[in-house]
Symmetry: C2
Subunit: 358 residues, 2 copies
């Protein structure tokens, strides 16, 4: 069965090989305070640094999930007010987390399926952080990296946080302009869920250290940024980490580096092109996002005239699994993940099957 689901997604083909080497080397039993662990941790961080061009001003930290990272950013980097670009369920949840943490939130909201451009965004004066979602998985909308960067140029004194959960390593973020970004491994890295990766810079750390001094405020006890940072400097984590996932992530990042990030990005765009071309010319499907520059390259969402369960059911008989729409669009849309785990040939096979079936 080939999974084109948006996450948990298809496992990366080399995943099983790396899992086997983890078991063969008995890494499941090593102490997280040993040199063997520190070497493993450092390897993964270095591979990710290379892959995503993360400079030394930023640390790369390992947490339980991207949802946990939403919370940690808001606790550690916001005293009073946050600003959110909201155009779907996941960007909305980021804002909901801020509300639950008793922050005062501002939002610029658009209906699902619509996207944002830098020129139309005004950030309120007292907002301390701008929370942008590079790829809104629920709706298949992406924000152009150039627009994300412009936000920081326009508002240099505010922190900029980028959710790239369902797109990393595709977006070529400039970490000279992005203060913090994060993703989870069950999307484009083709791993089972259970690990979130937090990229975060010294400005965020300074802010967390300042907030920690305030007696009426908490930055959290578990996974607070100053403690995570201190341990990361010696290639460790404060609590026992998901060593298996950290090891395999490093190996897959190494595989990605061997292929080369430019090749990976071009392949992503090529495969997305195959899918959008099919959707464009087929009468039963249409892209849910009209504007081509806002169409997600990593999660392709199509409105379908046939009930999504019928599309999904027929494809399943051919050994292919795609996702339903999200929430209220469950039956009227399908979502097709386009991650490195699925090859050009497999994407081609999916398009051919769709052509034959509908």
């Amino acid at each position: 069965m080939t999974f084109f689901t948006p996450g948990p997604a298809a496992l990366y083909p080399a995943f099983e090989k790396h899992l086997k080497s983890f078991m063969d080397r008995q890494l499941g039993s090593i102490s997280h305070r040993s040199q063997a662990y520190r070497d493993l941790h450092q390897f993964t961080v270095e591979q990710l640094r290379t892959l995503l061009s993360v400079p030394d001003t930023h640390q790369i930290l390992f947490l339980g999930s991207a949802s946990e990272i939403w919370e940690r950013i808001l606790l550690n980097c916001v005293e009073h007010e946050s600003f959110h670009l909201v155009n779907g369920s996941f960007s909305q949840k980021f804002r909901d987390y801020a509300d639950a943490l008793r922050k005062y939130t501002h939002g610029f909201e658009k209906p699902m399926g619509e996207g944002f451009e830098a020129t139309e965004i005004t950030v309120p004066e007292y907002a301390e952080i701008i929370c942008a979602t590079h790829n809104e998985t629920s709706a298949g909308v992406q924000m152009q990296v150039a627009d994300i960067h412009k936000l920081k140029t326009k508002y240099p004194d505010k922190l900029l946080a980028v959710d790239m959960v369902s797109s990393a390593p595709y977006p070529a973020l400039d970490y000279g302009l992005v203060d913090t970004a994060f993703f989870s491994v069950q999307k484009a890295f083709g791993m089972p869920a259970g690990l979130g990766v937090w990229i975060v810079n010294e400005q965020c750390l300074s802010k967390a250290e300042r907030l920690k001094q305030y007696e009426n405020l908490t930055i959290g006890a578990h996974h607070d940024l100053p403690t995570l940072w201190k341990f990361a400097q010696k290639h460790e984590t404060p609590a026992t980490p998901n060593v298996m996932a950290i090891y395999i992530l490093g190996k897959i990042a190494e595989d990605f580096n061997r292929i080369g990030i430019d090749t990976l990005r071009k392949e992503t765009e090529h495969k997305a092109g195959l899918l959008y071309n099919f959707i464009k010319k087929h009468q039963n499907f249409e892209a849910s996002v009209k504007e081509p520059r806002l169409q997600s390259q990593t999660v392709v969402v199509a409105n379908t005239k046939i009930d999504s369960s019928a599309v999904i059911g027929k494809l399943k008989e051919k050994g292919m699994v795609i996702g339903s729409g999200y929430g209220e669009f469950k039956s009227s849309q399908v979502r097709i993940a386009n991650f490195p785990a699925t090859s050009v040939a497999q994407t081609d096979g999916l398009v051919k099957a769709l052509e034959r079936l509908f």
Copy 2:
């Protein structure tokens, strides 16, 4: 190499088989909102319920780690004040978390290696929760289950939280008296780290719901108890969970249930007896905990006249790995895990090797 390290510890022998079945069934790619996932989740919860005799008044929840659960208990179940029994590094960290969350903490402290009895404990009037550690891994001290239960009988209006990270499923807790308890899977369940299990009752839920109404307080945004509980009722988690670990935990709990919890507990005590007997009669070693009823059955700690690195090094040559002392006792103590993953024969082999070598 056989690992007798206190965690991450030896993998349970059946772990690899369960991992293979996870891969063969492509469970790494299933949606966490599918019936396939809900069935898997429910299976694990039911196996744990049977194994630990958890009644329906309590939910069993899955989080990232036991450290995360420390934080979630304090955020969700404490408005102002908590009380902690502290006799080592891990019970101290539970209290440190409460301080970081701006709670007012009370503690009854003893030096490492000493234990607690119910009769000597007085809980301050305004403390809302009693935080006890069943097994203090850093020092090898356990608290008798009967003493833990007496605390609740003596203070029925306070919540009782039991850290059983490095001993579950050994302690036979009575959940009629324990409001919440928790553990992580890299100890006695013989799995790689990356999953914490939180057992929690309706009293804790009610308290969290009440605190959520207070405008000046936060119970957290990620993994807050009311949200975790709501999803657990439909056999789901709020965010994408560590499906692999949840699946394998269910399978290992099923293995444990087949052996039978009484047999497992007796075997644990038998193997601990072999280790303590050796330590008692050998001139170079002595139990760090003098009082037999306070000696941990799951993590045996011995003072050693030979530097611990020499003991560890020589055993390693024989294919066996034991742990060093914790913190300041790193070189003057050794710690030997006694979990179900290591058999009576292996424990016997370790004792024989120690007898020959020293």
